[in-house]
């Protein structure tokens, strides 16, 4: 029976065949993450609610085409939310949250010592910890690229830095984040 304890994949499969209880349970599981991402990107509760509603409607409609081989449910749902938020910001010509503030809001939610996050193996906390350890200029460039979808050229223009510097910051930052994620994966495999 589908309930609040079912896996993400089971809830999505339930939604795909029209199970309404699965849809309700899915919404209740993900609404805070989806609204949280949209709000952190926009600092606007009204835009964030519109985006979160649209994201959950799309997940509900497209549940039948979700392919778990291409990634996790969480990644799929948050990518939909991220893309809708970028579109909403563009359509409304709204001012996005500054990347430093976006990163700070993430670091605020890392209440414990960053070392604990790696021990727990929680991807969100591991990434928060790794992001916090990046030099500020690299962190800003990675957030602009990975969250706001800015190209290296756009980052170089917005940050008033040479294109090569923008590329280096993005590359070095993402490689450091990858090392943290891979380290966690290896630690989990060794257990």
């Amino acid at each position: 029976m589908i309930d609040g304890g079912s896996t993400d994949e089971a809830l999505l499969a339930g939604m795909a065949v029209g199970d309404q209880a699965a849809a309700v349970a899915f919404v209740r599981r993900y609404q805070r993450r989806i609204f949280g991402l949209a709000y952190a990107m926009t600092s606007d509760a009204s835009v964030a609610e519109d985006v979160a509603q649209e994201a959950l409607l799309r997940v509900w409609r497209h549940a039948p085409v979700f392919d778990h081989r291409r990634g996790s449910v969480t990644s799929w749902v948050l990518t939909i939310t991220r893309n809708l938020t970028i579109d909403a910001l563009r359509m409304r010509r709204a001012v996005p949250t500054d990347p430093d503030d976006f990163a700070a809001s993430a670091m605020m939610s890392l209440e414990h010592n960053p070392e604990d996050a790696i021990g727990r193996g929680d991807v969100s906390d591991v990434m928060r910890s790794a992001l916090a350890r990046l030099p500020p200029a690299q962190r800003r460039a990675v957030v602009l690229a990975a969250v706001y979808g800015r190209t290296a050229l756009e980052i170089s223009e917005e940050e008033a830095i040479p294109l090569g510097t923008a590329k280096t910051r993005i590359r070095t930052g993402l490689i450091r984040l990858r090392a943290a994620v891979e380290h966690t994966r290896q630690t989990e495999e060794e257990r």
């Binding site: 606007d44 948050l78 991220r82 949250t97 917005e158 990858r178």
Partner: protein, 243 residues
């Protein structure tokens, strides 16, 4: 293709792999890098790992309770109002204080308070000036940035300090490429010359980042110091107001 030529092709596409993983590579470079990845298992694996890290960046966003009525409006659009009521009846439990505090961390309550204040039109949420004409800092979830400063040690920049006002003042301390290792204490010095201990955190191999509530007004803080366990001042940041 010889092994050497293949390695050279890998080097040529190394930068583009990162941008491809982030979904920000376009045009001819994207086509050329995709073609290389198709024929190179090593770069394909590298791309998969980078894409995994890139996808995980959005996961850092905090969880925030949506505004009141969010579910009602959503379930109505989905035509699930009845299913929602039925689910609620089957899973309803008394919302005790203990369950509430476990489910909602303190910072979420702070964020929710900011959202509520925004909804009430108390002025939180306006945009401020831009440094480079790109995305601008906004008040709201994280409060207004009050002051910032580089942490320096022996004339070199080894990190940064930022203070924020708003609902609950707080500060961020970041150490990068410093020689610090182990437990350190952060202190702030206010206008009246008094030193206030903010708390302790751990730096590993020169790196560390820490967020803490400020118990003094951020407008009164002139200097922040990182102090070793032996009491030696390792790094200092003179704070300047953010316009």
């Amino acid at each position: 293709m010889t092994e050497g030529a293949h390695a050279s092709a890998c080097d040529e596409h190394a930068d583009n792999l990162v941008e491809l993983a982030l979904g920000i590579l376009t045009g001819r470079e994207r086509a050329s890098t995709l073609a290389h990845v198709d024929s190179c298992p090593r770069c394909a694996e590298e791309l998969e790992q980078l894409a995994h890290a890139a996808d995980a960046v959005v996961r850092v966003a905090p969880e925030i309770e949506p505004p009141m009525g969010f579910e009602v409006r959503l379930f109505s659009r989905m035509g699930l109002a009845e299913a929602s009521a039925s689910y609620e009846a089957r899973h309803a439990r008394p919302l005790t204080a203990a369950r509430w505090s476990k489910r909602v961390p303190r910072w979420v309550l702070a964020g929710a308070a900011a959202v509520i204040a925004l909804a009430l039109g108390l002025g939180i949420g306006w945009s401020m000036g831009s440094r480079h004409g790109g995305p601008r800092p906004t008040q709201g979830l994280v409060g207004t940035e009050i002051a910032t400063g580089d942490l320096t040690a022996n004339g070199s920049t080894v990190g940064s300090v930022n203070t924020y006002g708003g609902y609950k003042p707080w500060m961020v301390v970041t150490l990068a490429d410093s020689s610090t290792d182990g437990k350190v204490t952060c202190e702030v010095v206010t206008d009246d010359g008094v030193t206030h201990e903010v708390g302790s955190f751990t730096a590993t191999d020169g790196y560390g980042a820490w967020v803490a509530p400020l118990r003094v007004s951020p407008q009164d803080v002139r200097r922040a110091e990182v102090v070793s366990s032996s009491g030696k001042v390792i790094a200092t940041a003179a704070l300047r107001s953010v316009p």
